[in-house]
Symmetry: C3
């Protein structure tokens, strides 16, 4: 993919955003992208090729979100970016003149998404790639449930440290002091050093969501919990 | 290595092509390189330091293949690129003026290959590095055997998804519908979505070779097979 | 972090130095940095965010070592670079005008170190970041003990091949021929190819230190030894 981009747009800087998305894990890709797409300068092109449906009839998308571009298969990987953007518009990538001459059935990263991204980076207008798409695939993301004295949430991501990240923004539970998960009561702290090494804690993570962690350890291992696990955050 | 390159050629863009070659796995390096060396623009320098023989008498090579440069130990890592190139020429890297002053016995990547690559990227002619080499080490790569009703091949690579890639180009078996491996008959499909999740299939991979895969899974695990495993592809 | 840097310093080249530091492993970070910080051109900014104490009262540092800059938490990760530098000076990163507006308690890489590094790369003087620091945290690194007929050392690093790297520079044991570790006598060789595949050897590694290795294998596995293991290097 990098070679194809370099052929079309030799002066473009290419960089790797993450090497930690599991094969076919669209949810993890959507989460990772959510953390950084908006931090890059306007005009940046983000290529996201987590593509279990390669070769099927799923569409190839180019999306503009608040001035940044997202390029990849139409499988929900852009969901969190699209939900968070002030404005977005999408097109299906269909213009063969902007793709490789031969399109394989198994590596659209090289044959479709890399050349499309390179042309976007060179300034080719979004509309040149194909017809508008108004119904991109969007993941069904669990929504926190607000009760009188608590918010019920869900683990939506496990990071490389084994932290269990929930769908509950810290701003939704101001003053909360306690998270319940798998029969354990975990105190909500400001940061890791507020507990001893090896101890379980809850805190606000880098995306601004409540997460479970173990200082110098892995909450996923200690709690034997993963994506989909239920959490209850008690309000004061 | 990146620091050494940046000292000699500050404006050169350095990028990582793969982080997935096992220690000393020259076959995997040769396979990875085969997939991309020709996709980069003319003048690109590819540094390949999978180097189990570092410090021995093996030569250090710089090779020009169809306008791209390959730099690394003379151990066969360039075999597939050399076989595929329309033209190539090679030299032994010996000119001490183009290397680090002190050459360690254990890290030629930093001391020989990085500085040589940086000088090539700056435009130093290939002949400046040392004498011509006409007999680079080339891997003995298994060749598919054509029978009346089938082609006998070999697994030559396992990719990070667990796909078993054979040495049989799809163009050699037009219309084939079935691959036999380890007593199993596997149907040849166009792409992953032609079978159910978890199901075994054969298909044409990104290099244009026939490969065995499991949709959303690992064929290497399911078939308990690896490099060297025999396959038979039935012709229609 | 890369996005934040690109916003502030769009023309700066960002690259990854290593993907192999374990979570919170400050010793491994210090060792990795020691191998390359000085090989990059003057003016290079190295960002090192191995940060188990994020959010605590530990300081954020920017250090200038022989013309290169180091940016990261004050936890000892810069120790080996600082010890090796001809000259160094450090400041605490405190000037809010050079950081992100909102500073999270859990991701100072994005909120403090990335913006500070970007401003350094653009030429902002070190003194602009905050007050001088003369007592950075420095790791207590074991020092080799010289006896009449031997040098006693310690394993200080395990590399990705499983090599056990000691704290003994080869220059301290000229002519030595034997290393003792865990009851084994291991001969000191020039390079891997001086022994058979699978055989244990000692040699001078890329940092110039004596290390234990297995040709085409892992000394850490074979010797069941790790960081802190004692070695004795017999002098001639």
């Amino acid at each position: 993919m990098k070679g194809v981009i370099a052929q079309i747009a030799p002066s473009v800087i290419i960089d790797d955003a993450s090497h930690e998305i599991g094969p076919g894990d669209v949810h993890a890709a959507a989460w990772a992208l959510a953390g950084y797409w908006h931090l890059y300068p306007s005009g940046t092109v983000h290529v996201v090729v987590v593509d279990p449906g390669v070769g099927s009839e799923r569409r190839a998308l180019a999306v503009e979100c608040d001035g940044r571009f997202l390029v990849g298969p139409d499988n929900g990987g852009f969901s969190r970016a699209v939900f968070a953007a002030k404005s977005w518009r999408a097109v299906a990538i269909e213009n063969a003149a902007l793709l490789r001459v031969e399109i394989s059935a198994t590596f659209h990263g090289r044959d479709i998404f890399a050349p499309a991204a390179a042309h976007l980076a060179r300034g080719t207008p979004l509309d040149s790639f194909g017809p508008a798409v108004t119904d991109p695939v969007l993941l069904e993301l669990p929504i926190p449930v607000q009760q009188a004295d608590a918010v019920e949430g869900t683990v939506v991501h496990i990071d490389r440290f084994g932290n269990l990240v929930t769908n509950v923004p810290a701003t939704l539970v101001p003053g909360a002091a306690e998270v319940h998960i798998r029969g354990r009561r975990v105190s909500l702290q400001r940061t890791y050093s507020d507990v001893e090494s090896g101890e379980l804690l809850a805190l606000t993570g880098s995306h601004g969501h409540i997460e479970l962690a173990v200082r110098d350890g892995s909450a996923a291992s200690v709690l034997q919990a993963g994506r989909g696990a239920a959490v209850v955050i008690k309000l004061q």
